[in-house]
């Protein structure tokens, strides 16, 4: 990908302290059997030891196959879920085990946007009620102030402020996603976790919503954690990118380094599997075909979790877990045999 060497990731704002600092984050979901006496028979290790940070004003993209723990991570850092282990420090506050009450003053700073613009909005509430809810909950506006504030938000995300009294079903998918964004923006958050915000949208609409997120970030100095499985969308929007596999980060680095010099075999497989919209180029591309499926997170493979599907696996991969280590400035990889490869 020599053509893209001029692609320079924006340098994050040089606030000394990252806005979000996550260390050894874990979430195990207990699995119970039995009808009357529930017995714990195991745990789904959805997120199993994540360490990363996000600087103010930066976008961290998170990619990985279905079930690898992306959404769980998003719900942990927004504290919609209680972590099993590790720590989350947001803007200097340790929020790892904060109660709802303790979280309240911080709640407005951390928001989440969900994948499904259809199910994430209450069908019986008007747009005014939905987008105004955060103001009412936090009691930061008078009732007449709420209407004005909501209409400003609707205009901001490119919706008609007159549609204040309409219901979600009267809007298209792209418009509903804008409603979700307006709601998330209401309290001028510092961090927004976007969980597959454009996956359900048509390409032409995807581009509209991505541009909107870009503009809002510039205007309000927002920090995003952007979860998606579409690697080209993630490249477009992110400054840094984390690749997850079975509850762990296997590679994390700045956008340019990660896409142009990926080092983990799993990242190689992912990148090589994305078909590019160019028939001639596509017919010449090398494709790494992974065999089988992602193993169950109930019983993940020991040591390197990728070894059951990795074509480079050696004995050591089944015995010793490879730590996430920095191999290039700002580029960390968890593999015993890392190697640069050009794939896109």
């Amino acid at each position: 990908m020599t053509a893209t060497t001029s692609d320079v990731a924006a340098t994050p704002a040089d606030d000394a302290r990252p806005l979000l600092q996550v260390e050894g984050l874990q979430k195990y979901f207990p699995v119970n059997r039995g009808i009357i006496f529930q017995k714990e028979v195991g745990a789904v290790k959805a997120v199993d030891g994540l360490t990363f940070s996000v600087a103010k004003g930066e976008t961290l993209g998170v990619v990985g196959e279905t079930g690898c723990g992306k959404s769980t991570m998003g719900r942990l850092i927004t504290r919609l879920l209680e972590p099993t282990g590790g720590s989350i420090v947001f803007n200097g506050h340790d929020i790892t085990h904060m109660s709802r009450g303790q979280m309240r003053p911080l709640r407005k700073d951390v928001q989440i946007i969900f994948q499904d613009p259809y199910s994430s909005l209450n069908p019986r509430h008007t747009i005014g009620t939905i987008v105004g809810a955060p103001f009412r909950l936090q009691k930061v506006q008078t009732e007449s102030g709420v209407k004005k504030a909501v209409q400003d938000l609707l205009a901001l995300v490119g919706l008609n402020p007159e549609h204040y009294n309409r219901y979600p079903h009267e809007f298209s998918g792209g418009q509903r996603q804008r409603i979700g964004i307006a709601r998330a923006l209401a309290l001028r958050p510092k961090l927004i976790v976007c969980d597959e915000p454009v996956s359900a949208l048509d390409v032409s609409i995807q581009a509209q919503v991505i541009n909107l997120l870009d503009d809002l970030q510039d205007e309000f100095d927002l920090t995003y954690v952007f979860i998606a499985h579409d690697l080209s969308v993630v490249r477009h929007i992110s400054d840094r990118v984390a690749v997850m596999y079975l509850g762990k980060i296997v590679e994390i680095g700045d956008r340019v380094s990660l896409y142009e010099h990926p080092m983990h075999p799993y990242t190689h497989a992912l990148l090589s599997a994305v078909p590019v919209p160019d028939p001639v180029k596509e017919s010449k591309r090398e494709r790494i075909l992974l065999t089988g499926d992602v193993p169950s997170p109930l019983n993940p493979p020991p040591a390197c979790r990728f070894h059951t599907r990795c074509w480079k696996a050696q004995a050591i991969c089944k015995q010793v877990e490879p730590p996430l280590v920095q191999l290039q400035p700002g580029h960390e990889v968890a593999c015993h045999f890392p190697e640069e490869r050009v794939l896109v």
Binding site: V203, P275, V276, E282, S283, D293, V294
Partner: protein, 354 residues
């Protein structure tokens, strides 16, 4: 051959010579809100061993088209007209029973959501075996053997054990494989794949596309690949049909449509998608507005409310429905702009941004 259409009777036309030929297919649904013109005059051809891609935004009529070819609108409220010729036989006028017989032996479908095609209460093996035994009068044992053979063929590990699993015991990718196994159990000559990989990860998508390609090589089937993913299309198809608002707006070989696209909607699609094989741009170029409602298709060219070149057509874009015309070598396009105008716009404004 004479038949009923929405307009009345049409004069007889010669039988098709292509393996699959769809002529002026219309599927309209009467609803409380009005007539939904989901597919409104679609024509295309496909030979054995070849793949036709159909792309378009959600609601553009892709799935309704595929169900129409398979005869699955028969006996519903849908108004059907046009002709579907499969290997010399016309299917729109054929009886429901005849089309059902052909479904399975001559044509089969892979859906986006394998769970909608697999029954939760029967084992995967029983369902594949059943599909096979309906059309081939063989014993239960032979049916089971066929199921194991097909599961192995689509890459399910230890197929002799997994044959007795229920669909929920399979992962998403395995279910998709099982459905493919079921669809292919009778070696259909026409396979319609409706967003077969949309719900899957890219890694699994690559496996499934690889599998389909192998099977096509082996059996010489014709495939219709319906998708909204331009990458999948670029990788997989020979011909490409771009649908918008129930109509084809562009139809040509995959290289023609990707390298010399002619329709403003196709330009919009190609420029709005993020792509790994290009320099990252700071800003994406979306198509303005959103897809039309098929109850209330805009007058004239259905794309005109979103089209930046509409003013160049002197009002025709918003009043007259453009015809699908040959832009050279059988590359068809539905737009009022002249060939010269399209060429200029593409070379000067669109191509540099792709």
């Amino acid at each position: 051959m004479t038949q009923e259409t929405l307009e009345g009777t049409v004069p007889p036309r010669p039988a098709a010579t292509a393996f699959l030929e769809v002529r002026d297919l219309k599927v309209h649904f009467p609803t409380d809100d009005g007539l939904v013109k989901s597919v409104d005059g679609l024509s295309f051809q496909l030979e054995k061993g070849k793949t036709l891609g159909i792309v378009g935004e959600s609601g553009s009529g892709k799935s309704v088209t595929s169900l129409g070819i398979l005869g699955l609108h028969k006996g519903t409220r849908a108004h059907l007209s046009g002709e579907v010729w499969l290997d010399g036989q016309e299917l729109i006028a054929a009886s429901k029973e005849e089309v059902r017989r052909l479904r399975g032996i001559k044509m089969a479908m892979i859906f986006q959501d394998p769970l909608s095609a697999l029954h939760p209460y029967f084992t995967v093996g029983a369902q594949i075996s059943e599909a096979y035994r309906i059309h081939n009068h063989v014993s239960r044992k032979a049916g089971r053997a066929r199921a194991i053979e097909m599961l192995e063929r689509v890459g399910i590990p230890t197929p002799d054990k997994r044959v007795d699993d229920y669909p929920h015991q399979f992962s998403g990718g395995m279910r998709q494989r099982a459905m493919i196994a079921m669809s292919l159990s009778c070696n259909p000559e026409l396979l319609i794949a409706d967003e077969p990989t949309t719900a899957l990860d890219v890694t699994v998508q690559a496996q499934i596309l690889d599998l389909l390609r192998d099977l096509q090589k082996e059996f010489g089937s014709a495939i219709i690949m319906i998708t909204h993913d331009l990458g999948v299309v670029a990788e997989f198809v020979d011909d490409l049909l771009v649908m918008y608002g129930g109509k084809a707006v562009e139809y040509g070989t995959v290289n023609e449509v990707f390298y010399e696209p002619q329709h403003p909607y196709t330009w919009g699609l190609l420029s709005s998608v993020t792509r790994l094989d290009r320099l990252r741009t700071d800003r994406l170029k979306p198509i303005a507005g959103s897809p039309p409602s098929l109850i209330n298709i805009p007058d004239g060219c259905a794309f005109h409310p979103r089209c930046p070149y509409e003013p160049m057509t002197g009002g025709k874009g918003s009043t007259v429905v453009p015809e699908l015309v040959d832009a050279g070598k059988g590359h068809l396009v539905r737009c009022h702009l002249t060939a010269k105008e399209r060429q200029d716009i593409f070379l000067k404004q669109v191509k540099p941004t792709l």
